[in-house]
Every structure is written in structure tokens, then in C-alpha cells.
Amino acid sequence: MSTQTATGRFGRFGGRYVPETLVPALLELEEAYSAARADPTFDAEVARVLREFVGRPTTLTPARRLTEAWGGAQVWLKREDLAHTGAHKINNTVGQVLLARRMGKKRIIAETGAGQHGVATATACALFGLPCEVFMGALDVERQALNVFRMRALGAVVRPVESGSRTLKDAMNEAMRSWVSQVSDTHYVIGSAAGPHPYPTVVRDFQSIIGKELRAQAMAAFGRLPDAIVACVGGGSNAIGVLHPFIGDAGVRLIGVEAGGHGLDSGQHGASLTLGTEGVLHGSRSLVLQDADGQIQEAHSISAGLDYPGVGPELAHLAKTGRMEVRTATDDEALAAFYEVARMEGILPALETSHAFARGRELARELGAGKHLVINCSGRGDKDVATISARGVPPAVGVKA
């Protein structure tokens, strides 16, 4: 089931609020994307690269010890952390770079927060031989040194952005400005299911592979659809990717977990669905963190990937209509969940993903025994170890001081 209208709207949200210079490029992208989707050879090529290079399908792993510890529903992990480059982001960049090549574009640009989308874009560009520039907030460049190195090693140029809050939103502004200046030969690979139409649709479609695989894997593993699926939400690409194929299944609870940062009362968080108001940011109408004068506020999260004051328009629509439940997890809760998952399941989840895990216990208990809860494990935490270790040495387990 689609929640989308022909004009790129999801209810009141979406649209195309960009400088006129970009409109023809967006129309061209929309047309090229429709043509590609109608061409079975395009889908076949995307599928081939996902299988051969990305390592899809990713597994659906039973989390036995968490299930036992939480004492409720059976917990399953959809393992996007096992995809090449370590997160779901590669699903979208492979698709968009193939699309850009089909459109004859000579240069790729992208923005990145935590660096996962930048690495995924640089990887796809290396694979297909296209030059790549990645805009990244200067603050994120500092806190995600590993991913900055990975992008450079893959041949991409990383452009630190010094304006504004020096994070993802400013990187996206700068990428858009760069795109306006070289729109004829450049494709802008947006990493979130955000931005002007048709990006929210394009990104969602490429990411929907997660939910499509999950449907089949759930049937094989436990003979029915999950009772609930939970995903973290920054811009929302992993969330819409895993949730979208289930929108029409009324029996499946869809749950998004946003960054609560230092707490919802602190003013320092990334909870656009929970506390945002309607506005226009980065080319689409959605829920955004803004003040009464319409100035965009800086978001905060321990996770660079959730540190964004907007959210994809389709998720805003799903949240407003009640189809998706929205919860939040604070920085501290995410950190605690990181260690819990590491020690119980042998997986270091990304800090983004740790937000989804942080609500796992209560969701497992709400659902109860005999139900099935799937947590979308959107990425792995290697990139975050510096951030996490800076908060102190992890407590030892089973060793008395």
C-alpha cells in the first residue's frame, strides 16, 4: 500500500521547495527514475549488485539472550549491519549511482552525518568509477574520523562544512548549494528519505529491500508477519525501508525511535516527529525542529546520524496519521543499550541502532510471550567506538572489583 500521491505528497508533507535552478534537474530525475523502474534490466542490475557486492539478503537473526533477559516477545534482528560498508546506506547509494550512470551524470555529490552514507556513496562511486565529493559538517568530521578516512581511502573528496551547527543539516545545505552550481553534470545522492520530490520516494524504494526481505524471512522463520517492527529515526531511511512494505498490514505495529538526546525537556534532542512542527527544510514540507520565527534549531544526539532537525515526509505522514508509533531514547539510554546488546548478543550496534534497542525491553514486554518483535539493526558500531570510549571505560561483567 502506498501513502503517496502523484505530486510527491504524503498527506500534507513532501513537495519540492527548491530554487528554480534545481527544478528541471528534479523533473529529469523523476522521469529517469520512472523509466528505470519500468525497465526490468535496471531492477535486475540493482538486484545483482546487491547480491554480489553488498551481500544481500542480510540475515534475520534470533536474539536469544535478549529475548530471555527481556522476558517478553521473541526478539529478532534484521541485520543491516552485515551489509557491505556496515549499514543499510549502501542499498540506496548503489541504486542511485546506477541511476546517475544511466542518466549520464559525470560527478556525484553527497552529504553525510555519521559518515555511513558518505562511505556508502564513496563505495558505490569507486565500484562504478565516478568521482565523488562528500559534504560533512566539520563537527562530524572530528567525531567520525574513521569514516572520514574510509571515504578518502575510497577516493572521495571530503569537504568539511563550517557553517551553522557544523553538522548534517549544514552539510545538506552545502551539498544543495554545490548542486545548484553544477546541476547539469552532477547527481546529488541524498542519503535520507528526505529532500525534495522525488528523493523521498527514490530513497524509500531502494531501502524497501529491507522490509521485503524481512517479510519473506519472517514467514520462513516463524510462519507469519512480525507483530511489531522497530527502527531508529533520524532522517528515516532505515525506518521507511524496513517499515514501508508493512504499511498495509494492520496487524503489524510499526515503531520509530527518535533521538531524545539529553532529554525532551532539555531542548537538546533530535525528536522532530515528537516535538517538531510543520515546516520546510531541505526541499520538503515535513516536521522540523524550529523556533517560533521559523529558524531551524540545532538538533542534538550522541549519534551523528540522528543529529538532524528534520525527518522524511512519509514518516511525518505515518506518524501524524498514527500508523507509526513514535518513541524516543536518550543518549544515556542508547549507550546502555549499546553495552547490553554487545554483551548479550556479541554485536556492537551503531549508536543510531542503539536507540531502537533502548526501547526493546519495554516493547518486548508490551507484546508478551509468543509474539515476534523485529529490531532493524541499521548499522554496526565500529564507527562509534571513539565516541563511546570517550564516555569512559566500559564496566566489566562478571568480575568483582
Binding site: 530554487p19 535552478t21 520546510v280 520565527d293
Partner: protein
């Protein structure tokens, strides 16, 4: 239609000049001193004044105007304060010169479209330019503005195909703002060679004046373009001059640009 903008262009034409549309950022370096800058633009010969209202995420602007927006926000500039404290004072000092608000759509949405249109007209604003509001998204807002008598000025870009450019021109209010270069605001040493052709095309279709903007900073550029346009917009060069050397420098640059616009 306010009619005020048309009159200003007609006055320039009657004097044998292209019109100068001059931009400055309200609240840079603070609200009262920006009033002095706007006044200086008019004293220097500006025919229409664009009053920039700062937005935190200006995707159509280059570094000069982005910097001005950051200073203005730090100085406490808001759309409400611009309408209350800047516009009335500039109108009092320069009653003949139409004022056009230039900002981003989110600032207007947050304020309330109808509330803005009504208050803007009351305070003497003749039009508005919203660079992130293309024709597909502007129908409702334009109807609201039309009802209040505020012209929503459309933009046309170098990447805009001919038929689309003609449609934008035919339907324009106030004037058509032809973006000269594919890019953000800011000074350019050279303008694209096909610009004059594009201006001619838009001008043939438009019932209102047509101006070229983005990248224009010198009297020579203004002179070249005024053969193909009813006027030019200058922003970044004026913002930079005012920021570096104060209102007098902006006044002097306006006067020099006006000399370039004499036919």
C-alpha cells in the same frame, strides 16, 4: 497587484535608465543600522529595494549573504521585527521606493501566510521573493498574496526550459527575476554568454518588467545587461560593501551601478 513596482520601473524608463533593484539584509549589523543601509541604497539611486529577511538554512545563497543572515539572526532579526521596525522607517524616509521582502518559504509559513500578506501590505511592502518556492508549490500562497495586494515575484533560471520560462513570465506578478547563473547568489567575474538571449525570450513573454540577478556587481555588467532587461538586481556586492565600509559605501556602489544603467 500593488502597481507600485510597475510605477518605479516606468519612472526609471522615462529617465532613460535601467532600473536598479538593490538588496540588503535587514538586521545586518543590527536592525536600526540596516535601516540606514536601505536608506543609502535609495539615496544612491536604487529604484526597488529588496529587504532580506534572514533564514538559518539559506540554500539559494552564497557565502556573502549567508554571512549577513548569520549576523542578522545574532542581532535578533525576525520577520515580525523587520515588518515592525525596519519597513515602516524605510517607508517613512523613502516613500516613493517599493520594498520587496526576500526570504525563504519556511519563514513565511512560520509567521502565517495570511498574517504576513496582510501585515506586509499594511506596512507598505509591495512584493515578496521566495527563492525556494517554485511555481508548482506557489499557487496557494500567490492567491493569498494577490488578495492582499502583495506581488509574489517569480524566478526563472538558466536551467529553465523555454516553454516553462515563458509560462513563468506570462503569469508573473511585479517583475520576473531572471537568475543569470546556475548557482547561488554572489559576485561573478563573467556572466554566461547566452544570458542576453534568455532575457529577450522572457521579456517577450512577460507582461511585467524583467530583471537579471545573481552574480552582478559592476557598472559594466549592469550596462551590458540593461540592453536586454528592464533592470538588474545587485545583492552580494552591496551587502559586502555595507558590511566592510558602512552605508556610504553601499550608496556609492549604487550610484556607480546607476551610471552603468543609463542608456
Amino acid at each position: 497587484m500593488s502597481g507600485e513596482i510597475a510605477k518605479a520601473f516606468a519612472r526609471a524608463k522615462a529617465r532613460g535608465e535601467g532600473a536598479l533593484v538593490a538588496y540588503a539584509m535587514a538586521g545586518d549589523p543590527d536592525l536600526p543600522r540596516s535601516v540606514d543601509v536601505f536608506t543609502a541604497l535609495v539615496e544612491g539611486g536604487a529604484d526597488v529595494v529588496e529587504v532580506g529577511v534572514a533564514f538559518s538554512d539559506p540554500i539559494a545563497d552564497g557565502p556573502v549573504i549567508q554571512g549577513a543572515a548569520e549576523r542578522a539572526l545574532k542581532a535578533g532579526s525576525t520577520l515580525k521585527r523587520v515588518l515592525d521596525e525596519v519597513v515602516p522607517e524605510v517607508r517613512r524616509r523613502c516613500p516613493e521606493t517599493p520594498l520587496v521582502i526576500m526570504t525563504y518559504v519556511n519563514v513565511i509559513m512560520a509567521f502565517g501566510e495570511e498574517r504576513f500578506a496582510k501585515l506586509a501590505r499594511e506596512r507598505g511592502v509591495a512584493g515578496a521573493i521566495l527563492p525556494d518556492l517554485p511555481p508548482e508549490e506557489s499557487a496557494d500562497l500567490r492567491a493569498t498574496f494577490d488578495a492582499a495586494g502583495v506581488d509574489l515575484v517569480p524566478l526563472c533560471a538558466p536551467t529553465t526550459p523555454r516553454a516553462r520560462a515563458e509560462a513563468i513570465a506570462r503569469d508573473a506578478r511585479g517583475f520576473v527575476y531572471c537568475v543569470s547563473v546556475a548557482g547561488v547568489t554572489g559576485m561573478r567575474a563573467e556572466l554566461p554568454p547566452d544570458l542576453s538571449q534568455r532575457l529577450d525570450l522572457v521579456r517577450a513573454a512577460a507582461p511585467v518588467p524583467v530583471v537579471a540577478g545573481f552574480g552582478i556587481s559592476t557598472a559594466e555588467q549592469a550596462r551590458t545587461l540593461s540592453a536586454h532587461a528592464d533592470g538588474v538586481v545587485v545583492g552580494s556586492a552591496l551587502v559586502r560593501a555595507a558590511h566592510a565600509d558602512g552605508p556610504a559605501a553601499a550608496r556609492a556602489l549604487c550610484a556607480e551601478l546607476k551610471r552603468g544603467l543609463k542608456r
